[in-house]
């Protein structure tokens, strides 16, 4: 007779399956209807088509918005990962007072609603006379992405023996060379994971972009704008399906890289 600790639990398994269905079935309707030959989202499905995807391909503003999102995403992911590396190193390697409070403050944007940050930044920037542009969107995204970068990188820095860095110093390398020859290669999987994750978050982000976008829309802003036109809706679905797929792929990749690195270290 096995104990309750490792005995399979039927009701719990059923609950887990139901949970996943409720969570992801609505999302699955998006790609489903994006292949439907009708501008109305309703059953029964009409015939299969890829014309909405073809229409996307030829539309100039889609490409512009996509390019804007990619630019912001790349810059934000690099800056937030660099800042994340510096923060994670400082948190794990230095003796300082108020470390716990500092970590809490860095992680705070995870729980503060984006709308509050968005409004606050909008008020501040307009007071300062800063025009809204992709730069202001990037600033907003940086606030949102930084805690994710730190949360991804902290376990990497915590996970390795500080005496490995001391060994490098002992063998004659200064701080800069020790970082490049030891610290950086050892936290590399964390850096890749952080880049992928923060890029995805920035790419998909809507609330900050809603408050801080100037004349150049990001892709989510463009989608929002298109929702006013019912006949555009199927191509919005097609675009959403694509974003969904790329986001899933990037997050899985980030997870896989992060885990692989941890296994190598063990």
């Amino acid at each position: 007779m096995s104990s309750y600790i490792n005995r399979p639990n039927r009701p719990l398994q059923l609950y887990a399956v139901l949970f996943l269905i409720v969570l992801y079935v609505p999302v699955l309707f998006i790609p489903l209807f994006s292949f439907n030959d009708s501008i109305y989202v309703r059953f029964p499905l009409q015939s299969f088509t890829v014309k909405w995807y073809g229409e996307l391909w030829t539309r100039e503003p889609v490409w512009n918005a996509l390019w804007n999102s990619v630019k912001v995403g790349l810059v934000v992911s690099v800056i937030s990962t660099v800042l994340g590396v510096m923060a994670a190193r400082a948190i794990t390697r230095t003796r300082m007072r108020g470390k716990g409070a500092l970590v809490t403050f860095i992680m705070m944007p995870l729980v503060i609603p984006g709308i509050i940050f968005g409004v606050a930044l909008l008020v501040l920037l307009s007071r300062m006379g800063v025009p809204l542009s992709l730069y202001t969107v990037g600033l907003g995204h940086l606030i949102i992405c930084l805690p994710f970068a730190v949360a991804t990188l902290l376990p990497r820095f915590e996970g390795f023996d500080p005496s490995i860095e001391e060994a490098s110093a002992d063998l004659g390398e200064n701080g800069w060379w020790t970082f490049w020859r030891v610290t950086f290669p050892m936290v590399m999987p964390g850096i890749v994971a952080s880049l992928l994750l923060t890029f995805t978050i920035s790419f998909d982000e809507f609330i900050m972009a809603f408050f801080l976008t100037g004349t150049d829309p990001t892709l989510p802003m463009y989608i929002w704008g298109q929702l006013r036109f019912p006949k555009e809706f199927p191509s919005v679905l097609a675009m959403a399906a694509l974003i969904l797929f790329v986001s899933f792929a990037l997050v899985f990749l980030a997870q896989w890289v992060g885990r692989k690195g941890l296994e190598d270290q063990a």
């Binding site: 005496s163 001391e166 060994a167 490098s168 002992d170 063998l171 004659g172 200064n174 290669p185 190598d264």
Partner: protein
């Protein structure tokens, strides 16, 4: 003192972490080319002292000189010392060859010369052909050797070793002790070795500093520490010691003696006993310095004791006897030179004669 006698010179060094005084006014010298051990229980400050030699901690007060150079303003990466870490700290993302060659970057060697030096090191640590192994394919003993090679390839003036054998199992540890000793003789580099294992320190070292509470209690050769410990603390840290309280007795003709609890009056050469008549002294006798016999021996000093317990330990047996006038039992160790299967059958309560030579008595400083 010749310079070689104070190759490493530690002068009035103290180290505080907040209110905690980890190192308390230590002054001592380490000779060039010797195998020097810092021995003490955990928390005695031995690792802190080693880390100060490496430069990872700086003294709160005092100065450390290595080869006549003051070290306070020299960061770890510029010191002429290398360290073998307790965890070995092998770089996990590099193979064995790149681990060993890690410190050679600044020497601007040709690839051929570098490869040759690495191969020489692999031969020295008896791991030839291991260059391409990954760090996670190595056993504990192999990691320990790679950590040694990585440090020795730079020909440091001093090699620091932080309990490098602590993580190995007993058999491997004993083998590595022998190899480490041979290696030190071969390369001739000054080794400073931190350990809490007194047997290991005795086996390996030319000299040992016994540490406790951030202080150095005694610096001496293994034999001197064992046979002539200065204080009770040192005596009980190294091996086992029976302690007896006593009183100095002198007579007019210059003869001296110690009247010790349980042992009676023991005559002493006046040269060994400087204290005046009636002064309290503390003396020690190692368990193996006693002889046991069922009848009173013809010569030497002897007292009668009653056997409390006996423990058979293979090559020797340990007996505990109570002596009249002494509260704690006295430990006696006797080699089992004959195959006396019934050695452990000496019945408890049996009366035995304990004898010893007066030269075996250690007179300790009263604290």
């Amino acid at each position: 003192m010749t310079p070689a006698d104070r190759f490493i010179s530690i002068r009035n060094v103290s180290k505080s972490f907040g209110a905690f005084r980890a190192i308390d006014e230590i002054s001592m010298d380490i000779r060039q080319g010797e195998f020097f051990s810092l021995l003490g229980a955990s928390g005695c400050g031995k690792t802190t002292l080693l880390r100060m030699l490496a430069g990872f901690e700086s003294p709160t007060t005092g100065e450390i000189f290595i080869d006549d150079q003051p070290m306070s303003d020299v960061p770890p990466h510029h010191r002429p010392v290398n360290m073998v870490f307790q965890s070995y700290a092998i770089f996990p993302h590099l193979n064995v060859r790149d681990n060993i060659a890690y410190g050679l970057r600044k020497q601007k060697l040709t690839p051929a010369r570098r490869a040759e030096m690495v191969e020489d090191m692999l031969d020295l640590i008896k791991l030839p052909g291991y260059g391409n192994r990954k760090a996670n394919e190595l056993s504990g003993g192999q990691r320990q050797r790679i950590a040694l090679a990585r440090a020795l390839i730079l020909r440091p003036k001093v090699l620091l070793l932080d309990e490098p054998l602590g993580a190995l199992d007993k058999q491997l540890r004993e083998q590595m002790q022998l190899e480490l000793r041979a290696l030190q003789r071969q390369v001739g580099i000054t080794f400073v070795f931190v350990t809490h294992d007194q047997e290991e320190a005795l086996t390996l070292s030319d000299r040992i500093a016994v540490m406790s509470g951030g202080r150095v209690l005694q610096v001496d050769t293994p034999a001197a520490l064992y046979e002539a410990p200065r204080t009770r603390e040192v005596a009980s840290f190294i091996g086992t010691m029976n302690f007896f309280r006593g009183i100095v007795r002198r007579n007019g003709s210059g003869m001296a003696a110690i009247e010790a609890e349980g042992l009676g009056t023991i005559p002493m050469p006046t040269a060994r006993l400087t204290k005046p008549e009636g002064a309290p002294v503390q003396i020690g006798l190692r368990p193996e310095k006693f002889s046991l016999s069922p009848v009173r021996p013809d010569i030497g000093l002897a007292v009668e004791g009653r056997l409390r317990t006996a423990a058979y330990m293979g090559e020797r047996s340990q007996y505990y006897l109570s002596l009249p006038g002494k509260a704690e039992p006295v430990a006696v160790s006797a080699p089992n030179t004959h195959r006396q299967r019934d050695a452990q059958d000496v019945p408890e309560g049996q009366v035995l004669w304990l004898s010893w030579a007066p030269e075996a008595i250690v007179i300790l400083d009263t604290d």
